[in-house]
Symmetry: C5
Subunit: 90 residues, 5 copies
């Protein structure tokens, strides 16, 4: 799983019907200093996350289990909201 920040949402009227009702969150991957790394992806919210929150997201088949939509087009989901990270990096 990876750490990211919710930076927005995507609105798509015409879409796979199995995505209806899914909140499509623009998620910016973060490093452990919480700086952006790489480009945002679109993940389905499954934990009530909101804009600006630091989250855990998962990819692939794991994302469909997270969304309880096994046979769907989902390949990324938000699965946790980060309270804090304890880092011990020498």
């Amino acid at each position: 799983m990876h750490i990211g920040r919710i930076i927005g949402t995507v609105v798509a009227t015409r879409k796979d019907e199995r995505l209806t009702g899914c909140k499509l969150m623009l998620t910016q991957p973060l490093n452990i200093e919480q700086s952006p790394i790489g480009e945002p992806l679109v993940a389905v919210d499954t934990v009530g996350s909101g804009i600006g929150e630091v989250v855990i997201y998962t990819k692939g088949t794991a994302a469909r289990y997270a969304a309880d939509k096994i046979q769907s087009p989902i390949d990324a989901s938000i699965v946790g909201i980060v309270d804090h990270m304890d880092i011990q990096k020498e």
Copy 2:
């Protein structure tokens, strides 16, 4: 899932028969400023997307669910057409 723009199509007469009838879209990955990032991939259209449109695409097993062709060679599918993105990036 990822954001991309449809920039063309691929014509392949000789191909896996399970791809027959599939529109093979050349899809350029985009960042949230809608600038190209990385190299185009070939995704199967499942939502009636057209050249120039900004779309959501999915990869892996999710792409076969999107195309309702579970046992096929598809590993990327277009699953939505983006109306707009709401971005709040400080």
Copy 3:
């Protein structure tokens, strides 16, 4: 799926028996200008492709469906031969 060019073959006498009879094609990923990008991979031919041809290849579980060998070590397969690409890039 991705675009690539067949640039050679790999000969391996000692290998997983489920690869016996599979043509192992060295496949160079291409961009849409058909220039090489990144490093070649080894994909199983499923469409009668030959050296020099521009092809569509697929990865992961999709590649095992393409080869009709679901329970095999295959993670990449050639699934089409490109006639041409129609590109409209402004």
Copy 4:
């Protein structure tokens, strides 16, 4: 599988219930000289690993088998603690 070092933990009160009880380890990928490469990921501990240890981690569906939680959002797990690496690099 890959080599990494446990550099911390992630605390998330609000999360997918199938992650309850899982230790979420911040795992820094390492090269064979045990220097950091790329950015840390979040992997579930399945072998009693601790901060500072060099570990083997796995990704994707393999990670859910490792955690014995097949239908969960897990996409990365710690599956071994490295005693040593024997390297013969000319």
Copy 5:
């Protein structure tokens, strides 16, 4: 699948029990000139490969089929030993 060279082994006493008896090979990805590209990974030997040999390896679910351990933490396996590569690159 990919080309790599076996450059060592990983010893891990404490590990997922489904890895017991698996030879964990440090595998350096190679380009077609057999020069190292990127960082080594840990792949399970399934063909009796040895240090210094150039091999074919596979990733993901394909690696578990290769090892005949479908429900295991394996995500990379050695599946062939390269005799030679025939390359025709203009």
